[in-house]
Amino acid sequence: MNEFEQMYREVILDHYKNPRGHGVLEHADAEAEGQNPLCGDEVSIYVAFGEDGETIDEVKFSGRGCAISQAATSMLTEMVQGRSASEVAMLDKDELLAEIGIPLTPVRLKCAVLWLTTLKVALHKAKGTPLPDGLAGFDELELL
């Protein structure tokens, strides 16, 4: 089983089976939907800001994805809590990938970063923070 443990570390399976932040925020300050065109997964991300209107108080996500995407999103909800919207808008995907901590093929890389992108879209819509690289001008229909 060793080779599979390398691919699916225990912590990933744990996040997959018990995702943190799974659910819906009824009165979210920011939200966005994302689709993974490769597998058809759909996820919604909800953000609540603290009293300063800038610090991320809570992030939740609804929808189910593969283990990599689910674990990445689950880790992400913990990673961004207490950070400012503008800081998260610039969050380097490598920080998330380091947390995931397993080598990913190009297709799985998309699974891992897609909901980070969706979170940045939510922040963009609510706060006007910059869109992630490559998204600006590409996904206008989704943003409207």
């Binding site: 599979f4 691919m7 699916y8 597998c39 058809g40 997964d41 593969c66 283990a67 093929t105």
Partner: protein, 413 residues
């Protein structure tokens, strides 16, 4: 005709495919993704290499001997495709990039000029996006209705709404596949073709998933347009064919414009070339067409009936083996009504994860929506796993898949 049905020898055919000489992650390659794209036999690769080395030039315009050879190669391939599909006339065979381009050609050139308010295009919930999205787009753009025949509780197309559709709309196009790429369902198109023609509609057949696996006879189908992709039938990527009824093609506007497709060009007016040139603007995928011709020869030598019978056997075997895996959901019809395609899901495990762990065991399957999101919506899933078979598939590859699925379950236990 030869006496008695020919039996397919998959083991012998497999030796023609160089891709199987390698191991994947130290395991024998179980390539169960042929519905996505098929592997290529040496005969096709050799035909293309030999053509580049001895006969290559541009076609139709060169006076020199290489130009003649190249033209003969391209037109010879066209005749092979005509015979393969039992089309009446090789001039009605248009070379395109793939079935997607073929279907877009019909949607734009026929649909774009013949659809309007009050008209309807009818498709099914079992379509590949390539026979769904172009019609959805053109219908909306032209103010026509876009009607989808839903699936019933057995995931078969539900025809019970046809009368109501005919009452509500002027049905101009009926477009559906002959074999579903997701479920492998082999459609009985006869009644739908008759319904379409009784209403004065054209019938467009997406045969991309059928042509590799069974005898496709255009005259027996009685369709008006039919699309195939070379890469799914042992041919190279970048080549496919559209067959269309000559009178329809001649009355249609061109799809792409530019070199080769013209009769004469003046500042004031340009006139279109004859069939098939009117629809083949620019330099053709010449060597790819030659490769497709070689693929047709290869499939004919193996025997289309033998391929179909063998795939039914594989499908039955796979349904049995996979049915033993706990927590599996199998989609689609019984083996005798399906081509070599088995879609499934493992309870609680996303297809991407299934496919990734299978890959480490040398098993290649497709995990995703298979460009069939309307079907996925009906199944209530975002994606499925899909194992698909071809004339080089061996039963032990299916065993390797079944064993792999047990490992997947252990990882996610």
């Amino acid at each position: 005709m030869t006496a008695g049905p020919k039996k397919l020898d998959a083991r012998a055919l497999r030796a023609d495919f160089p891709i199987f000489l390698q191991e994947i992650h130290g395991k024998p390659l179980a390539y169960l993704d042929s519905a996505n794209s098929s592997q290529k036999p040496r005969q096709v690769l050799d035909a293309m290499t030999a053509f580049y080395e001895t006969s290559y030039a541009n076609v139709h315009r060169a006076v020199h001997v290489l130009g003649e050879r190249a033209t003969a190669g391209l037109e010879g391939a066209r005749e092979k495709v005509r015979a393969f599909l039992n089309a009446p006339d090789a001039r009605e065979v248009i070379f395109v990039r793939n079935a997607t381009e073929a279907l877009n050609l019909v949607a734009y050139s026929w649909g774009g000029n013949n659809l309007g308010p009050g008209d309807a295009v009818v498709v099914t919930q079992l379509e590949h996006h390539s026979n769904f999205v172009p019609w959805q787009y053109i219908a909306r753009r032209n103010g026509a209705a876009f009607v989808m025949l839903p699936l019933d509780e057995h995931d078969e197309v539900d025809f019970s709404g046809l009368d109501a559709i005919a009452q509500d709309h002027n049905v101009k196009v009926v477009a559906t596949n002959l074999v579903s790429n997701s479920l492998g369902t082999i459609a009985d198109l006869g009644p739908l073709v008759r319904w379409a023609h009784d209403l004065g509609a054209i019938f467009v057949c997406d045969a991309a998933q059928a042509a590799p696996h069974m005898r496709v006879d255009i005259q027996a189908l009685d369709c008006d347009f039919l699309a195939i992709s070379g890469h799914k039938m042992c041919g190279p990527s970048g080549i496919g064919a559209l067959w269309g009824r000559g009178d329809l093609l001649r009355a249609m506007e061109p799809f792409m414009l530019g070199g080769h497709m013209i009769n004469s060009v003046r500042y004031e007016k340009t006139t279109w070339g004859e069939l098939p040139h009117k629809f083949e603007a620019g330099t053709s995928p010449i060597v790819e067409a030659v490769g497709l011709g070689a693929a047709v020869d290869y499939l004919e030598a193996a025997g289309l009936d033998a391929i179909e019978a063998y795939e039914h056997e594989l499908a039955a075997y796979a349904l049995g083996r996979l049915g033993e895996v706990p927590g599996i959901t199998l989609y689609g019809p019984p083996a005798e009504r399906r081509a070599g395609v088995v879609s499934f899901n493992l309870e609680g495990i996303h297809p991407h994860d299934v496919a990734q762990i299978l890959d480490r065991q040398g098993v290649a399957i497709r995990a995703g929506h298979h460009c069939c999101q309307p079907l996925m919506h009906k199944l209530g899933v975002a994606a499925t796993n899909r194992a698909s078979f071809y004339l080089y598939t061996l039963p032990e590859e299916i065993d390797q898949l079944a064993e792999g699925l047990h490992t997947v379950r252990k990882v996610f236990a």
